[in-house]
């Protein structure tokens, strides 16, 4: 299964939240909203911190392109696993090697997230997932 297919196999679940990111002040809103979404899904404070940092890093990264964008947060289910998915459309990555983007993203995010993907949906979209540990 390709990474593009695998993101589609996860069923979405609430919460579904969107944050409009226009300037660096909005990064704090992203952190706050992500912590709240993670709390609703039962993540511990430590994992909330991890998710909030991942979402803020993605928002900062996208903001560096100089354009306003929307960061999407939603719950996902894979069998009995619950997780939080963070995604942002990145149209400027059209035509860029997905491998190079993923290497750069994984290097920036380190162990913050369980999965990082670049999907064409049809716009290139960066998707990151962290699963709740039991």
């Amino acid at each position: 299964m390709t990474e593009e297919q695998s993101v589609l196999r996860y069923k979405m679940r609430p919460p579904v939240l969107n944050v409009q990111v226009e300037d660096s002040m909005d990064i704090m809103i992203v952190r706050d909203t992500t912590r709240r979404a993670a709390s609703l899904l039962g993540f511990s404070p430590a994992y909330r911190a991890q998710l909030a940092t991942a979402a803020a890093s993605l928002a900062e990264l996208v903001l560096k392109t100089g354009e306003a964008h929307t960061l999407n947060l939603n719950g996902v289910i894979d069998g009995i696993k619950d997780g939080l998915q963070i995604s942002a459309e990145t149209p400027w990555l059209q035509g860029v090697s997905a491998n190079n983007v993923l290497v750069a993203l994984k290097s920036k995010m380190g162990d913050l997230v369980d999965e990082v993907m670049l999907v064409n949906n049809p716009t290139p979209t960066i998707v990151m997932i962290v699963w709740v540990r039991s």
Binding site: M28, R31, D32, R35, S39, P45, A46, R48, A49, Q50, T53, A54, A56, S57, K108, M109, G110, D111, L112
Partner: protein
């Protein structure tokens, strides 16, 4: 019973602000202004919670947290790192050191701190 918090923070201004916030919800606060002092205070008289800055003189917050979590007398005390260092590497360093939460000092810091205190049972709703 009044629960006690050990605050390890080198900035006197910030220590006063954080202490005031914690005292406003009924907690007693002791302050240590560097890492070694924080460790001594925690081991000599274990508090119910430790709020720990990262940028500290002599020994940084990550080192302090690692030592707290290694010592049998302090390993079960929840540690919340409250810091200006908000990047991925710093966050993972804090969590790997054993912190129970890692909160950047931004406009939502006090709200996030209070939520975590509630969840840890330090604050009663």
């Amino acid at each position: 019973m009044v629960l006690e918090v050990l605050l390890v923070e080198d900035s006197k201004t910030q220590a006063a602000q954080i202490a005031e916030m914690l005292e406003s919800v009924g907690l007693r606060v002791r302050v240590a202004y560097d890492g070694p002092d924080g460790l001594r205070e925690a081991m000599d008289n274990p508090p119910s919670l430790i709020v720990l800055d990262v940028k500290l003189p002599t020994m940084d917050g990550f080192q302090v947290c690692r030592r707290l979590k290694r010592s049998p007398s302090t390993q079960d005390i929840p540690v919340i790192m409250l810091t200006e260092k908000a990047g991925p590497k710093a966050t993972m360093s804090g969590l790997r050191a054993g912190a129970d939460d890692y909160i950047p000092k931004d406009i939502f810091a006090s709200e996030h701190l209070m939520e975590t205190l509630e969840e840890l049972g330090i604050l009663q709703e």
